[in-house]
């Protein structure tokens, strides 16, 4: 086994440490009690609702019989990121949302919490759950260290392939480390899962190394050309780019944050503080908007969420909105920000909004919502330009990497891709499922099978 370089840990003093788990890990007694509630359905709807198709009734049955290790095996064989998915998955709209108990007026089985119990307790006691195949000598480069790449690396390593992950940032893990709402999962949990993945086989993680289109300059860059020529396959797990801007007066300057940037600081920047922020406006109606609104609210900030359409049209999940509201978030629907207001010193004092109809602003309907922080969560830019440096790889009109959905292979026969850069921004579990699809095809391609 290769000796790994010490990885940057998350230093203490992060704001995310202040958050309690909304769904703490069950102890054994709680897990068995909950597992025994499961009907053990055949052809269960929860399995169909899971993007990775985990055999949920089977793993729950195993928890009930005391076969916790077997439960973890069932989970991780289908979804190598079973640990983070147990915490990050929106089970309310996936497995648990499909539980037959819902229609029966009973609480659905707490599938996420059972999964967390099985995977965490097992990996703490017996991390060597899987044995990798003998080394094949084939090398795969993975660009980015977010969920898609680490899932792919783990599965490839179990097949006996050598993997090298290139991560631009110093802190690895992508959105799993930096983007999951801290009341669901904290950074150290993501790092622990990453460490486990790295232990599965021959995987090297190179942080602080950027893959570039042109010539690489210095040790902190590597060119796409080099990856293509030196590796047997390349997997692009590029994720998404920086937060999009609204493009309104007063937006540039202190006090206005991109939501993803702000979440990253709350999660990972030691000593980061909100510095006396009392009121915040969050712009957007998606899940990132709900996350940052909820996080700020839990940190004691009075939060108004401003969305330009109606509540019913929000892309954020209903259960997330309910949870955020319970913790104090207020939704102001059918409003569009037109300017960020600042005082003479440049400090944010509020947001001017206009009423909208069908998402379009109505002139002369201006209102001011006072705030000393604004978080913009209207989407993220693409980070896919580098993909074009791989000959044959194409982007669609929305800037997403184009793949064959059956294989996740791009237009370049040596390049595969998955995760947010392909699907435009979905869940960790989607990244894991796409990585698995890609790995199956990579393994077949490298073994020379059709």
């Amino acid at each position: 086994m290769r000796v790994m370089q010490p990885r940057p840990a998350l230093p203490p003093g992060r704001l995310e440490e202040k958050f309690d788990d909304k769904k703490p890990r069950y102890d054994a007694a709680e897990a068995v009690a909950e597992a025994n509630r499961c009907l053990y359905c055949s052809d269960a709807p929860c399995i169909a609702a899971c993007p990775t198709g985990i055999d949920i009734p089977t793993f729950i049955h195993k928890i009930a019989t005391g076969n916790t290790k077997g439960a973890a095996r069932t989970i991780l064989s289908a979804n190598i990121l079973g640990a983070s998915c147990a915490q990050a998955c929106p089970v309310e709209v996936l497995c648990a949302g499909a539980c037959v108990y819902n229609l029966w007026g009973r609480e659905p089985i707490q599938i996420g919490r059972l999964q967390r119990f099985a995977v965490e307790t097992t990996l703490e006691k017996a991390p060597r759950l899987f044995q990798p195949n003998p080394r094949t000598g084939k090398k795969i480069a993975l660009v980015g260290s977010g969920p898609a790449s680490i899932a792919a690396a783990g599965l490839l390593a179990l097949e006996g392939h050598t993997c090298v992950i290139f991560e631009r940032k110093e802190l690895p893990g992508g959105l799993n480390t930096l983007g999951i709402a801290p009341y669901k999962m904290k950074g150290p949990d993501a790092i622990r899962e990453l460490e486990w993945i790295l232990s599965l086989g021959d995987i090297e993680l190179r942080t602080g190394v950027e893959v570039v289109g042109g010539r690489a300059s210095g040790p902190r860059q590597i060119s796409a050309e080099e990856l293509i020529s030196q590796y047997d396959a390349v997997f692009l797990g590029l994720g998404l780019g920086a937060d999009s801007k609204i493009g309104i007066e007063g937006e540039d300057g202190p006090g206005v944050w991109g939501a993803v940037d702000l979440i990253e600081r709350i999660k990972a920047q030691p000593g980061f503080a909100l510095g006396g922020v009392k009121r915040a406006v969050v712009v957007g109606g998606g899940n990132t908007a709900l996350d940052i609104a909820h996080e700020l609210s839990l940190l004691g900030v009075e939060v108004d969420m401003v969305y330009r359409r109606s509540e019913a049209e929000m892309s954020g999940y209903r259960h997330e909105l309910d949870g955020a509201r319970k913790d104090g978030v207020r939704l102001i629907e059918n409003r569009q920000p037109v300017a960020v207001l600042r005082d003479e010193a440049g400090k944010v004092t509020g947001v001017r909004v206009q009423r909208t109809e069908g998402g379009r602003p109505l002139p002369g309907t201006d209102e001011v919502i006072s705030a000393d922080l604004v978080a913009v969560a209207i989407g993220q830019n693409r980070a896919t330009q580098v993909a074009l440096a791989f000959p044959g790889v194409q982007l669609d009109a929305k800037g997403r990497v184009v793949v064959d959905p059956k294989t996740h292979r791009t237009g370049n026969p040596k390049v595969w891709s998955g995760g947010d850069c392909v699907n435009g921004g979905k869940e960790v579990v989607n990244a894991a499922a796409e990585a698995r699809t890609a790995v199956r095809d990579i393994v077949a391609a490298l073994s020379g099978r059709p």
């Binding site: 019989t65 076969n67 077997g70």
Partner: protein
């Protein structure tokens, strides 16, 4: 990875998990699907002269929210033509040569036994199981448990089978007997090398209180059936281990049956002497798929215990199964309630008050209140501990065990809904270390004062030895 394969009278099976002779083994197709799922062997639904069945056939016993704690049936042996079963058996053995196919048989006359044994062996059966256990329908025709109930008849028929068979013979026993070692000894005398137990327990599963027809209903009547499922497991464990520790019967290779639903149950049967285990009800409830957990769970358990094969587990618990008179009278435990996990439901309190020895106390009561509640002995101090468990009842108090009065019966620990919260901790005893009742009998100190005058008078005559 431990070795789960077993040697059953010279027949190797990939694992100890066999399907019992029952609806899950009715057809070759079913058995092949079961083998695909991971079952190591299957005892074919009992073959004989085809019968007719009634409708309906099964009755269930639920407990709380748990369905099928027990299952009862009035189904008879196979209703399919023998030739069809034999053709399918041949196909199963051809496609699954390493899996174990056991032919369960039930016929009447010596000539019938000769013919059917010849035919199933010709079809490829690895082992034969003589169904001397079925307690309904067939026994009234002089077969099934009618044979198992009568050791001499059992011995005679089993010895025919041994005479005719080239493959090892397993005799399947009925639990509907006073002493299982009697039919067990008859098996040994017959020359059969193996026994399987238990078959179902004679039962009536319930009564329809609107029509006053017992269940399961056949028109406007019902009949007694055979009871199985998790509810019968303790009965099966006992009867199995009765044979496993019997000087003669312990020479038999044993196949354990009765309520086995998961790897843990299976491990218990194996620890009490079973070489293979047979499963029916759990498969009828959840399907063949449960075997994955059984294989995986048993494997991990053996690994964890450092046992390299399932044979190292076999019989491990048998020496610890003793007669009551051999138990250590000086062993003493008392209940200990973990205040960190107690949720304050007070189930232990009420169980101890009404079904135990009134030694669990609720804090915060006056002496008068405690006495009125039924306590006769009050500890010097009852600590007032507030429930702090995260799922606890707000404001509830953690009950307190009076160690001096606690007799260590386990009841409170058994009713506690939070496993691990009440544990039984060992405490010193004032009895002579290691002394058993049998020791007292030997020493003549097996007399407890406070009983009948007549008994005391008789003992008094014996007493001088003591003095």
């Amino acid at each position: 990875m431990a070795d789960l394969s077993i040697d059953f009278c010279g027949v190797r099976s990939p694992n100890p998990f066999w399907l019992a002779s029952a609806p899950p083994t009715n057809t070759g197709d079913q058995i092949m699907r079961a083998f695909d799922a991971g079952w190591g062997g299957a005892v074919w639904k009992t073959l004989g002269n085809p019968i007719v069945n009634v409708s309906s056939r099964f009755g269930g016993v639920d407990y709380g929210n748990t369905r099928l704690m027990g299952l009862n049936n009035i189904e008879l042996i196979t209703d399919r033509p023998l030739e069809v079963n034999l053709r399918e058996m041949r196909l199963v053995k051809k496609r699954y040569p390493k899996h174990t196919v056991i032919a369960s048989l039930m016929v009447e006359t010596k000539e019938e036994w000769r013919e059917i044994i010849h035919k199933v062996e010709d079809a490829g059966a690895d082992l034969l199981e003589l169904n001397f256990g079925c307690p309904h329908g067939m026994c009234e025709r002089g077969m099934g448990s009618a044979v198992g109930n009568e050791p001499r008849v059992l011995q005679e028929i089993a010895s025919w089978a041994v005479e005719f068979a080239k493959t090892p013979v397993i005799v399947k026993l009925t639990p509907n007997v006073g002493d299982i070692t009697e039919p067990g000894e008859a098996v040994v005398r017959s020359g059969a090398p193996a026994a399987s137990l238990i078959n179902t327990v004679k039962s009536i599963v319930g009564v329809d209180l609107d029509t006053f027809v017992p269940l399961p209903k056949v028109g406007n009547a019902s009949t007694n059936g055979g009871y199985c499922g998790p509810a019968v497991k303790p009965i099966a464990l006992h009867l199995l281990s009765q044979l496993a520790r019997h000087p003669e019967c312990s020479k038999l290779t044993l196949s354990g049956i009765g309520g086995i639903s998961n790897w843990r149950d299976a491990a218990e049967f194996i620890a009490l002497g079973a070489t293979s285990v047979q499963v029916c009800t759990a498969v009828m409830h959840y399907g063949y798929r449960i075997v994955e957990d059984m294989i995986e769970g048993l494997n991990d358990y053996l690994d964890e215990k450092g046992m390299r094969s399932v044979s190292e587990l076999r019989g491990r618990a048998v020496p610890q199964y003793k007669e009551w008179g051999e138990l250590d009278l000086s062993y003493r435990v008392v209940a200990d309630i973990d205040e960190r996990t107690c949720i304050g439901c007070q189930l232990c309190y009420v169980a101890c008050m009404d079904g135990g020895h009134q030694c669990i106390h609720l804090p915060g009561r006056s002496e008068e209140e405690a006495r009125r509640a039924g306590h006769t002995h009050l500890p010097r101090e009852i600590p007032d501990r507030v429930v702090t468990a995260k799922a606890g009842t707000p404001g509830a108090r953690v009950p307190f065990v009076d160690d001096d009065e606690c007799i260590g019966c386990n009841l409170c620990a058994l009713v506690c809904p939070v496993p691990g919260t009440i544990s039984m901790k060992q405490v010193p005893s004032d009895r002579p270390p290691g002394e058993t009742w049998n020791d007292r009998v030997t020493k003549g100190t097996d007399f407890v004062p406070g009983g009948l005058d007549v008994t005391a008078a008789v003992r008094a005559k014996k007493a001088p030895k003591q003095a």
